[in-house]
Structures are given as structure tokens and as C-alpha cells.
Amino acid sequence: MAIDPKYSELVTNIENGDEDGGIEAAKGLLESGVDPLDIVQDAIMPCLKEIGDRFARMEVFLPEMMLAADVVKGVQDVLRERFSAIEVASEGRVVIGTVFGDIHDIGKNIVAAVLEANGYEVHNLGVNVDPKDFIKKAREVDADLIGLSSLMTTSIPYMRDVIDLVKESEVDRDRFKLIIGGGPVSEETVELTGADGWGENAADAVDAVRALMESG
């Protein structure tokens, strides 16, 4: 989809990972009377989708994805500040992290960046995250979904701990969907942990998140 030329400065700054430039461009658009929802739907979303597609083709790489996501976060903050009554459109809210005992971050960061590129609001808790902290953050931001990553087989029980905490809670059980991913994760791990879904890679994770969100 071609992006309206009036958004070209904003789009260029997102692509270049220039947060200050992106914020200035967004402010300029608002001052010229452009609706914030149009900025999100007609500029930010297609731009992020294009960056995600370029990543899949290896035309851009993880750092560019992470920086573009940062620009978008900054721009969304500006849109919310100016129009607090308006909820900036989001595909959904995801809390993501590498579970306790595991310090590998690259796979989880890729999934976080690709989710953001696809319009999800992502709260990245980092690595070696205590099971309770996933729940705490998910409640705090009113998340739709919790994403759990691990590259180590010995951390997979901690995935199950988070899932058990959610499923055992009357408050959280129907509130948060749970998705898992990482090197040793498979259908077998989904059965073992009781997760709602899994992603084999970043693109797969986005499809799985989308399917879970649509399933209500």
C-alpha cells in the first residue's frame, strides 16, 4: 500500500530510527490538523509492516527493527499526550520476556520487534524474569497476552510456572492468553506447559498471537 506523501518525513524517521525526528514530524502533522488515528493507521502501521517484511527478506536487521519500534513508541506517546481522550489504535497488548534461569535475549527481542512492527503494544521485561513479575506487569498494563521465551530446556518448567499461576487465578484465567517460544519449544512443550499457543520463529509468533487474539 502506497503511503500518502504527507507522511514521508515521519516514515523516513521511523525507517532511520530517529526518535527525535519522528516525534517532531508527528507534532508537525498534528499541528497541521491531521487526525492522530489517521497517522497511526495510514502511516505508522503500513510503515512498520514494510519494515517487518524487509526483515524477513534480510534487507534490514534486528537493530533497525528495534530502533523503528522505539520511534513508534515515542510518537504514540505524543499522540496520546495531545489527544488523551483518544485511544491510539493497537492490535493488542503483549507482555514478553525470557523466563527465569535463562539469559538469552536475541530470539525474544526479535519477536518483540516483529510484534511491534505489526502494531502490537509490547512490554519487554528482559531476561531471567521471575514468574510472578510476568503476572504483575500483565495486570499493570492490562495485557491481552503473555509471551514466554526460553532457549534452555531447564528453564521450561518456569514457563509452566507462569502458565499455572495464570490458570489457577480466577482473575487472570480468562484474561491473559499465553504463548511460548524459543529453541527447544515445540508442540510437545505446549502440551507439557499448557500454553495456549507457540511460535517456531518470529513470523510464526505473530500469526499465533493474531490467532489467539481473534479467538477471544
Binding site: F61, H104, G107, T153, T154, P157, P184, N201
Partner: protein, 462 residues
């Protein structure tokens, strides 16, 4: 004259080095530095997926110079303190010069001599089987006895235990500490039972954190310091205290260390050419900062977390060649497959990837990672045998010949790299009464082996 930094000096630098946030490191420092060096050395766009084994040694030397520059400009980032551990040129040169070019792993007649190698070096690349694939406690002893019994397998690495005496192994808990020591006992027993008590081992593959290793390496009744202690980094160009605990332990007990930190195509260093530079830099820095005996030089592709595709094979060949021609370091091409046991594709992935590492100058390769390491018990001794046969046979081949071989092997599997057949678990691919591969798996092995021989790999047909 400068000295190579000692380990206490390194630990101090984790607290006194330049402050840099992890975000700045990941999104600016690594990609910016690599991008500039690629441009300065005119290496952007050098990747040739049509020829997965590089045959241009001038190019390998150019990449070495670029990687050397990246090591000095970047250093390692300590994620616990967000400080950069930088090294001087004098420290790096001295540390690389002081690194050993040979190492005997194990003891007595069953020990294995690792040697620094150059491209096409006739001294064989040695193997450590398998990678840390999750293995049930029930099958671990038989599986590892059978792997240790394979005469072509040089060192026993082994699968990761997911339970110990029926209890789940939770990392960072005392159960991991308990498991570390008990796993060492099981590991030693598998080698003893196979008639190779002095066979060298890679240590503590089941230990995610320092606890499992501290309880077993150099401990009385645990792993011998003649075995290689595995020290895995969190990711390329980064170190953390968990890893450094292991490093200090190896130094304290006078052991030997294998350090690993694969560079990622598509990750922080960007394209395949950037990953080669990062891989070389990471190897040089780990020898300066951690001072292992072996390791370094691995490249993976983030799209598949493997290195059997064309770009990753090319990058792996360049990284090994660059280090093999310009240093005497004992490097480690760790080749990750995606298909599973009982499939032809797994054997073709092993043949292509391991031949690349062997001919490019790698010293030791750990593997296979059958089924991408995703499924419990999806590893068998037969592919360990095949990997070791390929590693030894391809070592002395000409780069051009291995390039042609890999070009012939790739069409056997590259269409399914993203959606591989994960094959069979050990208990279905082997007859547990006879401890032999099932006839179908044995037949596939012979078929692929014969085809590899026809394509010029000097394997022993028997």
C-alpha cells in the same frame, strides 16, 4: 611490554569500563561499528550464496583484518554492569600469541589431540557428540553408551537431562547443583562402559547456570580437569557474571575451557558479511578476555537458528578460514541442523555443514543438533557416527572440491529448512533390545554415505 590481562584485571574492568546501556550496545555500537568496518574494508556484498565455500584466500585475510579491527574498537559488553571490557592491541596480540595450538583432551589411550588447523589441513577436525539436546533420564545411559562406543566420535558431549532421579531440573536451584555432579557420574559411566574411560568430555552441558558446573568440574569424583569445560556466552560480543563465574572456576582448578558465542546473521551485526566480522572479533576477544583453550568462530542465521543454509555456510567458511590462516587458535564450527533422525535430509545437512567446517580449518565441531534441538530424545548415535566420519574425511579435501560437494548436497534439503521433517526419537529410530538402528534408518545412512562417496568425499565405505 604489555601483558595479557589476567582474570582479576578483567573482573575489575566489568566495574570500571566505559558505561554503555545494553540498548545503545545492541542498536548503535555493534551495528554502527560493523557497518563502518564493512565499508572501510570494502566487504559489503561479498557473500556468494552460489558458492557456499569461499575459495578466495585474499578475501579471508581481508575479513580477518576487519574482525581484528572490530575486536579493538568494540570489546565485550558486560550485561550485569553495562560496562565495556575493552582491550588494547598489545593485550590482544599477546593473548592470541599465548593461546595453545594443541591440547590433549581426556586421558591415556582414549584421549584426543586437538590441533590448530588451516584450510584443507590434513589433520582431521575432531568431533564432540552431541549438542545439548534434551534427553530423558530413562534413555540417557543407553544413548550415551552407544555414542561413546562409536569409534569415530572423538569426544563425548551429550544431551541435557531434563530430570534427575525423576525430579525436574530447575536452573539456578540446588537441584541444578545436585544434577551437575550426578550428571558427571552418568557421563563417566557411559564412557567406562563403552570401553573408553579416558575419552575426553565436554563438561556440564546440562548446567544452564554456574551452579551445575561449580558442583562438578574439578570436583572429586566429578569431571576431570582433562575434560573441556563448556562456557557459553549470553550472545555475541556480550559477557555476564554467570559466564564469568564459570571462567573463574576453570582458571582456579587449572582446567581447559571451550568458549562459544555464535555471531548471528540478521542479528546485531546485520548481513552475512557483518556476522563474519563479528564472529572473528568475538573469537579474538574471548581468547584475550577469558583465555580459553578452544572455541570461537561460529556463525548462525537468526531466521532458522541453524547454519545449513547457503549464507550461513558461506559465512562459517569465511570465519574459519580467516582465523585458521591468520592465527593458531583452535576454533569451533558448531553446525546446527534442522531435520530429525531417520531422515535423509538430516544426513545431507550434516554432510554439507560439517564438511564446510572441516575444510575451512575448524579444530573441533560439536553436534549434531538433530531436529534443531527442539524435541526431547530426537538424537541417535548413528548421525553422530556420520558427522564424525564426514568431519574426518572432508578435512584434507580441496576447498574447491568441498564447494562442489556442498552445491550438490544443498538441493537435497534446502527447500525444507524452514519446515523440516523432525524425524524419530531415539527409542523409535533404534531397537532398544539389540541397541542397533532400525533397518530403515540404517539403510538411509548407507544410501547417503554411498552418495557422498560418489560425490568425492573420501569416506570409508564400510
Amino acid at each position: 611490554m604489555e601483558n595479557k590481562p589476567d582474570i582479576l584485571e578483567i573482573l575489575t574492568r566489568t566495574q570500571t569500563g566505559e558505561y554503555c546501556t545494553q540498548k545503545e550496545w545492541d542498536t548503535k555500537r555493534i551495528p554502527g561499528t560493523i557497518r563502518n568496518i564493512l565499508k572501510e574494508h570494502d566487504l559489503a556484498g561479498a557473500c556468494d550464496p552460489d558458492n557456499p565455500v569461499n575459495t578466495d584466500m585474499e578475501l579471508a585475510d581481508k575479513f580477518y583484518a576487519a574482525g581484528y579491527q572490530a575486536a579493538l574498537e568494540l570489546g565485550f559488553h558486560c550485561t550485569d554492569t553495562e560496562r565495556i571490557i575493552s582491550v588494547t592491541q598489545g593485550e590482544l596480540d599477546l593473548a592470541v600469541e599465548a593461546a595453545p595450538s594443541e591440547l590433549l583432551v581426556g586421558e591415556g589411550q582414549h584421549a584426543t589431540l586437538l590441533k590448530s588447523r588451516t584450510p584443507s589441513d590434513p589433520y582431521p577436525m575432531k568431533t564432540a557428540c552431541t549438542l545439548g539436546i534434551a534427553v530423558s533420564e530413562e534413555y540417557w545411559p543407553a544413548m550415551h553408551y552407544l555414542i561413546a562406543r562409536e569409534p569415530e566420535v572423538d569426544l563425548l558431549n551429550g544431551g541435557s537431562l531434563i530430570t534427575i532421579r525423576g525430579k525436574e531440573v530447575l536452573s539456578s536451584t540446588p537441584i541444578e547443583t545436585f544434577m551437575g555432579y550426578e550428571h558427571a557420574q552418568m557421563h563417566k559411566e557411559a564412557r567406562r562402559k563403552a570401553g573408553r574411560p579416558g575419552m575426553g568430555a565436554i563438561v556440564s552441558i546440562s548446567a544452564v547456570t554456574e551452579y551445575g558446573m561449580l558442583s562438578s568440574y574439578g570436583a572429586k569424583g566429578g569431571y576431570s580437569t582433562k575434560d573441556l569445560a563448556l562456557v557459553l556466552f549470553p550472545s555475541e560480543m556480550k559477557i555476564d557474571y554467570r559466564t564469568l563465574h564459570k571462567v573463574v572456576q576453570v582458571h582456579n582448578v587449572g582446567g581447559a575451557m571451550k568458549a562459544d558465542s555464535p555471531a548471528m546473521i540478521g542479528g546485531m551485526p546485520g548481513p552475512p558479511e557483518g556476522a563474519v566480522i563479528s564472529s572473528i572479533a568475538c573469537a579474538l576477544l574471548q581468547y584475550t578476555i577469558l583465555q580459553p583453550q578452544t572455541g570461537g568462530g561460529e556463525v548462525y542465521d537468526v531466521r532458522t537458528l541453524s547454519n545449513v543454509n547457503r549464507e550461513a555456510l558461506w559465512a562459517q567458511s569465511l570465519s574459519m578460514q580467516a582465523l585458521g590462516r591468520n592465527t593458531h587458535l583452535m576454533t569451533h564450527p558448531c553446525m546446527n541442523q534442522v531435520s530429525g533422525p531417520g531422515t535423509e535430509k538430516l544426513l545431507w545437512e550434516i554432510a554439507a555443514s560439517v564438511a564446510v567446517g572441516a575444510v575451512a580449518g575448524g579444530t573441533l565441531s560439536t553436534g549434531p543438533r538433530s531436529a534443531g534441538g527442539k524435541l526431547t530424545d530426537h538424537i541417535t548415535p548413528l548421525e553422530c557416527r556420520f558427522m564424525s566420519e564426514i568431519s574426518h574425511a572432508a578435512s584434507g579435501m580441496a576447498l574447491e572440491d568441498v564447494n562442489e560437494f556442498v552445491k550438490a548436497a544443498l538441493p537435497h534439503y534446502e527447500d525444507t529448512i524452514k519446515e523440516p521433517d523432525l524425524g524419530l526419537p531415539f527409542q523409535k529410530a533404534y531397537n532398544l533390545d539389540t541397541l542397533e538402528p532400525i533397518p530403515e534408518w540404517q539403510a538411509i545412512y548407507h544410501k547417503v554415505k554411498d552418495e557422498c562417496i560418489d560425490l568425492g568425499v573420501p569416506l570409508n565405505p564400510w
